[in-house]
């Protein structure tokens, strides 16, 4: 996926919104900037499929040699799929953060969280300030 087509949360998750027959979905992952900042990753705890998540609440955990970090759900909804290959291939998060490095797919039940997301350019400005 092209980063320009994605939305970003201030907590560094990216989101791709798709509309399918069963409703609207958010596929999400961790931005290239965040993966770089975390440095060497050692562990990811994926959410369970079927779990209800609430926007801006932690739902997944990544651990690097530096620290453990929460991932925050960018939208409210139900986890319908997770990328099971990640725990054994964490390098994917670094190599292809916006494609093969996707983390979870959520069926959106409430659009409220979407208004807090920003486009890539705005997100990049935030990263420059943090970096």
């Amino acid at each position: 996926m092209n980063q320009d087509d994605l939305l970003f949360a201030k907590t560094h998750e990216w989101v791709a919104i798709t509309t399918e027959d069963e409703g609207r979905f958010a596929t999400l992952g961790l931005s290239a900037f965040a993966v770089e900042e975390l440095s060497d990753l050692v562990f990811i705890e994926l959410p369970e499929v079927g779990r209800q998540v609430k926007a801006e609440e932690p739902f997944c955990e990544v651990e690097s040699v530096k620290a453990v970090s929460d991932l925050y759900a960018p939208v409210s909804g139900e986890v319908v799929a997770v990328n099971d290959t990640l725990p054994d291939a964490l390098e994917t998060l670094k190599e292809d953060p916006y494609g093969a490095g996707w983390i979870a797919k959520i069926r959106i039940t409430d659009d409220a969280g979407l208004t807090h997301l920003m486009d890539y350019k705005t997100y990049q400005r935030q990263c420059e300030e943090e970096g």
Binding site: V42, V65, A67, L90
Partner: protein, 495 residues
């Protein structure tokens, strides 16, 4: 000098039949084990244990121990850990037979000495914190946090209030959110300002009658004393919440200010930090907690109490004067076996009695003075984003160096080992990029601080590649941390 042979794995050193002691033949009739124990209690095969001589075992462990860094061998400015010198007199006091050889099931009447010490320690910790009651039970700092939050939980339950939120500023200790979650609360993080203080607008926005506790680390992990502390506490109290002080940084304020006086309702101590108990090695830590009068009924049992002498006389009882009080109906219960981790508590007692009130104040003054002196030297080499002044520690940043020369906080930390200094804490707190957190403690003289500053200055001029490959002088250089975390080898291959 370097002995690599004796530091091989014990299983690799093992040879069949080798023994530390050979016993003479048994002079009473031997009976097979199967006659003495039921078959369900017997293993099919003997355990696979290494077979070694006594000198081999001694050499193995002594050689390994010399590859370690400790407060007894090196300057150890590990921020947030208060690695002060552990006086040897504490060890002597704690190993006196009258203390070390007691059994916890002895009757109270034969334990009066140690109970008096523990009672006096409770009193001293209460006085230092400005709080009314103390439990010595928790086994370590984070356990103290958990116990105190359970006390808060019991208190609100008793009041019939449902409060689910614990607020934690992002400059607090990393254990705070974990303790709140363990105690069944929902943690909400409060942002700090660029100056490193609690953002008051953010705090106000999060305050409600859902808030049970605000956990604050003051002085914070940035080594700063919160200037709005009183106001913060008042606001939390105004919505009926409690203020918890993470006491890990008490070394900066001993005898100067008291958490109870600036609005805390509960706090823990880390005797292994503040009161010079050893970190590990000499035994486990402890995490005594102090609370206000209204929270006292919920403290873990047992508390050590001193019986009123008039009551003793009135009842015609003879001492014991000191006893363990289990009869506290509102208590959250027992959180640790027996009296808690008494060994480290005894060391704390010895330390407190050695220093006295005046001495304790000097400890804090010198810890703060040392940190400010080192800050004044380090900030000319590495930016200290929040650092015109500090309390007991400060946080420098290698972010600029990383951008310009690709030298990271980790590279600097690793290279310091080559010069005989233990590394500072790195990458914590998370609010500072490429953080290097330095806490010299009061134990060091100016000579050591100058030597450290000069080595740091020298390192920053070195070839970056030399730093990337450091340490060069330790028995192993950089372990593969990713592999160690993801594919650890936890047993000998033959197991």
């Amino acid at each position: 000098m370097k002995n690599t042979q004796d530091t091989e794995l014990l299983f690799d050193l093992s040879r069949p039949g080798r023994r530390a002691a050979r016993l003479p033949a048994c002079d009473v009739p031997e009976r097979p084990l199967s006659e003495l124990l039921p078959s369900t209690a017997l293993a099919q095969t003997p355990p696979n244990l290494p077979e070694l001589s006594e000198p081999q075992v001694v050499r193995h462990f002594v050689n390994l121990s010399t590859q370690n860094m400790s407060v007894d061998t090196h300057f150890y400015p590990l921020g947030s850990c208060t690695m002060k010198y552990n006086p040897k007199r504490n060890e002597r006091a704690a190993s006196l037979p009258g203390l070390a050889d007691l059994h916890p099931y002895q009757p109270d009447s034969t334990l009066q000495g140690i109970l008096q010490i523990l009672y006096e320690l409770q009193e001293m910790l209460q006085e230092i914190s400005g709080l009314a009651a103390c439990s010595l039970q928790p086994a370590a700092g984070a356990h103290g946090e958990l116990a105190a939050l359970l006390v808060a939980s019991a208190y609100f339950r008793d009041l019939g209030q449902k409060r689910s939120i614990v607020l934690v500023p992002d400059n607090a200790h990393g254990t705070n959110p974990a303790s709140a979650t363990m105690a069944g609360f929902q943690t909400v993080s409060i942002k700090t300002t660029s100056a490193g203080f609690v953002d008051m607008a953010e705090l106000t926005a999060h305050l409600s009658e859902q808030v049970a506790v605000l956990m604050i680390t003051n002085p914070s992990t940035l080594g700063l004393f919160e200037p709005n502390m009183r106001q913060i506490a008042d606001q939390v109290h105004a919505v009926g919440g409690l203020v918890y002080l993470d006491g890990a940084n008490m070394n900066a304020i001993l005898g100067i200010t008291r958490p109870g006086d600036f609005g805390a309702d509960m706090q823990h101590y880390n005797p292994h930090k503040t009161f010079s108990g050893p970190h590990g090695g000499g035994g486990p830590g402890a995490g005594p907690i102090c609370v206000t009068e209204r929270l006292a009924p919920y403290l873990p049992v047992p508390l050590v109490v001193r019986q009123n002498e008039q009551d003793l006389q009135k009842n015609g009882d003879s001492p014991p004067v000191y006893r363990l009080d289990f009869s506290r109906p509102k208590s959250i219960g027992q959180v640790r076996a027996f009296f808690g981790n008494v060994g480290v508590l005894l060391r704390a007692y010895a330390y407190l009695r050695t220093h006295g009130p005046e001495g304790l104040r000097r400890v804090a003054e010198n810890a703060v003075l040392n940190a400010n002196y080192l800050l004044s030297r380090v900030k000319t080499m590495l930016p200290v984003p929040q650092g015109d002044r500090c309390m007991h520690e400060f946080v420098a940043s290698a972010a600029q160096l990383k951008a310009e020369k690709n030298i990271s906080a980790m590279d600097i930390a690793k290279r310091l080992l080559d010069y005989g200094f233990h590394a500072p804490t790195v990458y914590f707190p998370l609010t500072v990029a490429e953080a290097i957190m330095i806490e010299p403690t009061e134990s060091e003289g100016k000579q050591t601080l100058d030597a450290f500053a000069e080595v740091l200055s020298h390192i920053l001029q070195e070839d970056p590649q030399l730093l990337h490959d450091a340490p060069h002088t330790t028995s192993i250089s950089r372990p593969d941390e990713v592999r160690a975390a993801r594919h650890p080898i936890l047993s000998h291959p033959e197991e």
